[in-house]
Amino acid sequence: MNSPRSTPPSTLHAVTVLGHDRPGIIAEATGRLAGLGLNLEDSTMTLLRGHFAMMLLCAGDAPAADIEAALAPLTDDGTLTVTVREVPQQPAAAAAGSSWVLTVHGGDRPGIVSAVVGQVAEAGGNITDLTTRLAGDLYLLVAEIDLPAGADVDAVGAAIRAAATDLGVGATLRPAEADEL
C-alpha cells in the first residue's frame, strides 16, 4: 500500500473484476460501490475471448477492506475474481506532442505486439489505448499513441513498418488529432 495521503478528503481505489461473463455483473458491482458512497471515475470493460474484464477507479471514503467485503458476493460462485487496490490521485499529464492511431494486422504469429510496440517505446512514444484481437488467423492491433514533441514521425512510422514487414504483417500510422468543431 502507498503511504497515507492527506490532501483530498476521498481516496481513489482501482477495482478489477475478471472472469466468466454473465448478465448483471456490472449492475451488481456498481450497485455495491454506490452503496458505499463511492463515485465511479474512469472505467473500462470489454470481453476478452468471452471473459468479462472490467477495470474502474472509484473515489470515496471507504477503505479497501470495506470495498473488498462489499464486492465479495460477486465471487461467491467462484467464476469471478475481484481485486481492490488504493492508487494515488494524479492529475493527467497534458502531453505536448502529437497523437496517432497505429493499426497492425496480418497472419497470426508470436511476437507481433512486442515487436511493433517496441518501436513505439524506442521513440519515446506512449500508448494510451490498446486493443488486440485474434479472429481466426487474423491478428489485429489498434493503439492510440502519443509521440513526444519533436519526434521524427516519418522515421517512427518507417521503423514500425519495417518491424511489421519482418513479421509479415502490415502497419499503418495515421494522425489522431481531433477536428475542433
Partner: protein, 203 residues
C-alpha cells in the same frame, strides 16, 4: 476520412449533395448584420443549455441579429474554432455560425455564415472522424456523419430562406452545429463505447 469518396466528390459536381456552392450564402458576411458582435463566454458541459432543444427564432428580430453577430465575434477570437452554436454561449436558440474556409479538410465551402432554424434535409456517404468541441474540452470522440448534406435554414437579418449543399468538412461542421441547436453534443453520437478519448493536447 475515406479517400475513395473524396475522389468521387471531386468528379461528381452534379451528384446529390454536391450541387454547387450557394452564391447568396457565399456572398454573405457578418458585416451584412450591421451590428457589432460582442465576444461571449463559451459554456461547457454539463451546462443544461447544451442539452436542451433550442427555441426557433425570428431571423429578422434585433435579438437574433445581435446573437448572430456575437456568435461570429466569439468564433473569431477562439483559436481553431470553425463553428459556434447559440447554446454554446448560453442561449437556447436555433442559431449558429460556421467558417471552415481555412481548414485543411475543407473541400467546398461558403465562407462565414450564420443560419437560423436550420435542419438537415438530406445526407449521404457517412464517414467517421474524430471531433472535439469547445464545450466538451477534455474529450474527443469518433463520430460518423454524412459527408454530403443538404441544409435548409434562414439567414439572420433578411430572413431569406436558403437551401445549400455542403460536403466534406463543412458538412461535418454544419451537422455538429445543428446538433448543438437540438441539444445534442458529439458525445451523444459517438461511434461506440471505446470511441471516446481523453484529450491529449490542448489548443
Amino acid at each position: 476520412m475515406s479517400d475513395p469518396s473524396d475522389q468521387q466528390g471531386q468528379q461528381g459536381g452534379q451528384q446529390p449533395g454536391t450541387g454547387g456552392v450557394h452564391e447568396r450564402v457565399l456572398a454573405w458576411s457578418e458585416t451584412d448584420l450591421g451590428v457589432e458582435g460582442r465576444v461571449l463566454e463559451v459554456v461547457r458541459a454539463p451546462a443544461a443549455v447544451l442539452s436542451t432543444v433550442g427555441e426557433r427564432v425570428d431571423p429578422t428580430s434585433p435579438e437574433t441579429v445581435q446573437l448572430a453577430a456575437d456568435l461570429v465575434a466569439t468564433m473569431r477570437v477562439s483559436p481553431g474554432c470553425v463553428g459556434l452554436a447559440a447554446p454554446q454561449v448560453g442561449v437556447g436558440a436555433q442559431v449558429f455560425c460556421v467558417d471552415v474556409s481555412a481548414h485543411p479538410k475543407t473541400r467546398d465551402h461558403h465562407g462565414t455564415f450564420v443560419l437560423c432554424n436550420a435542419e438537415v434535409v438530406a445526407g449521404s456517404r457517412n464517414e467517421k472522424a474524430r471531433e472535439g468541441c469547445m464545450s466538451v474540452p477534455d474529450l474527443t470522440g469518433d463520430v460518423k456523419r454524412a459527408s454530403r448534406i443538404v441544409v435548409r435554414g434562414q439567414l439572420p437579418g433578411t430572413g431569406e430562406e436558403v437551401e445549400l449543399h455542403a460536403n466534406a468538412f463543412e458538412a461535418r461542421c454544419l451537422q455538429h452545429e445543428i446538433d448543438h441547436c437540438q441539444g445534442l453534443l458529439f458525445v451523444d453520437r459517438v461511434a461506440g463505447a471505446h470511441a471516446i478519448f481523453a484529450r491529449q493536447t490542448y489548443l
